[in-house]
Subunit: 370 residues, 2 copies
C-alpha cells in the first residue's frame, strides 16, 4: 500500500528512527535475556519505599486526569529549589520537554548547535522540526563550551544544547563556567542546559537554581528519571524565567501527565533522605565499575553521573564487540555513537548483583575477543 | 522581563491556552471542593481490581523506561482487534496522538475541517501548528457527515476530524455511514476518526476494526481513558494502515510512555469481564442522569457515550449559570462551548453517590436561578 501522500515537507523526508534501541527490542531481536540492565542510565536502586506507597495510594484514582496545571508538583519543586511556581513547568521527561523546546524555536533550516556525539534524542527532535545540526567536537571528553559559543556566534544559532554533567561521557564543566557561557550568549540564542544528572554531580557543578533565572534565553532541564529512580514515570521539569516557562503552555499536551507518576514525583521529592542514600550507593557503584575496568586493563573516566564511560583503548569496532559480547552474557550496556568517544563503553550503575555480573562477564568477553 | 525574542512565527502568536480548565483549578480559583467529579467524561467506576494489581506489580519496576516500541501492548491490541501489530501505534492518550497527527500533515495556513463546537483539544493542536480551522455546524446535535465532506472538497483540506460517538453531544452516526464517508474522501485528505467512546456505543456504530484498514488516509483513535477507567494513565492508540501507523515513529517521543500505565492498559484489555460490568453501570448511570434531567423539566439527549448532554431549553448563559451553580454545591460538570449546543449541560456518569449529589443539587440550583 502507498503512504498517505500529503505529509508536510519535513515529515515526508523523516526516517522512522528511534533515538535508542530499547533493551526489550534487543532481547526480542537477538533472542537473549537481560540479566543486568545497566545500559540506559536508569537507576537500578529503584524508587523509595515512600514513593511506592504514594503510587499505590494514587492508583485507584487513576480514573481521573492529572491536574493539567501540575500545580502541586510545580509548587513543591519551586519550594525545593527556592524559586516561584511560575519558574517551573512540567513535561513527559526531559525527552518530551526537548521536543517542545525545539518546536518553540526551530523553523526549517535554522542552525542548532550541539556537541558531536551528545544526546541523540535532542538531535532527533531537531531533525524532526527541520533544524540543521551544527556540531562541535568534545575536547578531552568534555563538552567544549568555548567551541560551542564560537559556533553559536558564527551560525547566529537560535538554539544551543549541552548537558552538564555530560551524557555519554560522564564529564562536567564547572558551574561558574556554565554561568559565564550562558551570560555570554547572544540574547537571541536559547540555551538548553540539560541537568538530567544534576543530583549526582559534585559541588560546584550545578549553578544555584536562581543563577540564570534572570535570563529569558536559558532553560534548564531536570528529571526524576536518574537519581530519583523513576525513568518509567516520565516526569521532567524545566527551570526558567517565568516568561520562558510559560511558553510551554502554548504547545504542551496539557492533559499529558500520568496521575500516578505525578504522585510518585511528589513523594520522591519529599524523601530527600532516600535520595541521599541512593546517591551514596551510586557513588559506590561508580567506584566498583571503575575497579572492574582497571582490573580488565581499561581506563574509567571520572564521572559526575550515574554511569561510567570506560576507555577501552582501541576503536569503535572493538568497543561495539564488547557491548555485543556482554549482551550475550545478559549484561546490557551501551556506548557513545561517534569517534573518538566510541573508543569507550558506557556502564550505568546498578545494585551489587549487577556489578558482580559485569565483573564476571567482562573478562570472559575480552578473552573471546582476544 | 521581556520574552525570548526569537520564537517561531507560529509560537510567537499563540496564546497560552488550556483546552479545558481542570476541576483542580476551579477548586483553587473559586475556593470550592468537588464532591461529585462528573464533568470531564472520566469514569468514576474506576479501573478493575486486576488493573490495580498489575499497577502494584509494575510500580517497583518504574526505574526502567518503558519499551519504546510498546511491543507487548501493540501485540495485545492487535490480537484484541484481529489486526496485525504494525497496524497499531501508541501515544499519551488521544490528546497526544492528535498533536502528532496534526504535526504530520499541517503546514501554516492549511485548512482543517471539523464541526463547530467539537473537540477543543484537536483545535488547540491545529492552531498550534498554524492550521486554519474550517468548521461546519452540527445538524440536530449530530456531526453532519455530508457537510463535513462538502467542506473537505471545497477547501481541498488535508485533514478532517470527527468523533463517533460524538463529544460533547453524546450523539452518533451509523457505522455504515462513517465507512461511506471515509471511502468518499479524496485520497489526499486524512481522516481522524476519534472513537474515544467506542466501547460504550450501541452495535453498528463502530465499524469493524478492519473496515478501513485498506485506506492510508484513515486514522482511528481509541483510548483507555473512558470505558476502561484509566484517564490518568494516558494511554491511547491508533488503528491505521501499517504505512500510516508507522508515520508516528517519525515524530513521537519514543521514550514517552509511563511504564505503570502500559501495565495498566495491558491488564485492562485482558479483563473484558470487568469492562462488561462497567458498561452496564455506565448504561444505568446514563438512565439515572436522564431521569434527573426529566424530573427537573429538562430533556436528556440520547447518548452512546459515558456522559449525557441535557438540553436546558434556554441559552448558553442559562446553562453556564447551572454549571456554575452546581459547582457551588460541589458538583463538577461541563457544557458545550458554542451555540446552539451550549443550551445544554454535559454530565458524565459516575457511581450512585455522585448521581445522588446531582439529584439533590440540581433542583436547588434551579430554584436559586428562578
Amino acid at each position: 500500500m502507498s503512504i498517505f501522500p500529503r505529509l508536510t515537507s519535513i515529515v515526508r523526508e523523516l526516517p522512522a528512527t528511534v533515538p535508542f534501541v530499547g533493551p526489550e527490542a534487543i532481547e526480542r531481536n537477538r533472542g537473549l535475556k537481560v540479566k543486568a540492565r545497566i545500559g540506559a542510565n536508569e537507576n537500578g536502586f529503584g524508587p523509595a519505599p515512600s514513593v511506592l506507597a504514594a503510587m499505590a495510594q494514587a492508583a485507584p484514582e487513576t480514573w481521573k486526569y492529572a491536574d493539567p496545571e501540575n500545580f502541586e508538583l510545580r509548587e513543591a519543586l519551586a519550594k525545593h529549589h527556592g524559586l516561584s511556581r511560575d519558574q517551573i513547568n512540567i513535561g513527559a521527561g526531559i525527552d518530551g520537554l526537548l521536543g517542545e523546546i525545539v518546536r518553540m524555536v526551530i523553523e526549517p533550516g535554522l542552525p542548532v548547535v550541539t556537541s558531536l556525539g551528545a544526546y541523540p534524542t535532542f538531535n532527533y527532535h531537531v531533525v524532526g522540526y527541520g533544524g540543521r545540526l551544527v556540531t562541535v567536537p568534545y575536547a578531552n571528553d568534555r563538552e567544549d563550551l568555548g567551541a560551542l559559543l564560537d559556533a553559536v556566534r558564527r551560525e547566529d544559532a537560535p538554539l544551543v544544547y549541552f548537558a552538564n554533567p555530560d551524557n555519554p561521557m560522564g564529564s562536567w564543566n564547572d558551574g561558574k563556567d556554565v554561568v559565564d557561557f550562558a551570560r555570554a550568549l547572544p540574547k537571541t540564542t536559547l540555551l538548553v542546559l540539560d541537568e538530567a544528572y544534576g543530583e549526582t554531580a559534585p559541588d560546584g557543578v550545578i549553578p544555584p537554581a536562581d543563577a540564570l533565572i534572570d535570563r529569558p534565553n536559558v532553560i534548564r532541564t531536570r528529571t526524576f528519571s536518574k537519581a530519583y529512580g523513576l525513568a518509567g514515570a516520565r516526569i521532567g521539569y524545566v527551570i526558567a524565567a517565568a516568561e520562558t516557562a510559560a511558553i510551554f503552555d502554548r504547545v504542551r499536551n496539557h492533559f499529558g501527565m500520568s496521575r500516578v507518576s505525578v504522585a510518585a514525583a511528589l513523594a520522591a521529592l519529599a524523601d530527600q533522605d532516600y535520595l541521599a542514600e541512593v546517591k551514596a550507593k551510586i557513588a559506590a557503584a561508580r567506584e566498583r565499575i571503575g575497579s572492574i575496568a582497571v582490573a580488565n586493563g581499561f581506563s574509567p573516566l571520572p564521572s559526575a553521573t550515574n554511569f561510567v564511560a570506560i576507555d577501552c583503548g582501541r576503536d569503535g569496532a572493538y568497543a561495539k564487540a564488547i557491548v555485543d559480547g556482554l549482551m550475550e552474557e545478559g549484561v546490557f550496556i551501551r556506548m557513545p555513537g561517534v569517534a573518538p568517544l566510541n573508543r569507550c563503553i558506557r556502564v550505568s550503575v546498578g545494585p551489587q548483583s549487577d556489578m558482580d555480573l559485569l565483573a564476571e562477564a567482562l573478562p570472559k568477553v575480552l578473552k573471546k575477543l582476544g
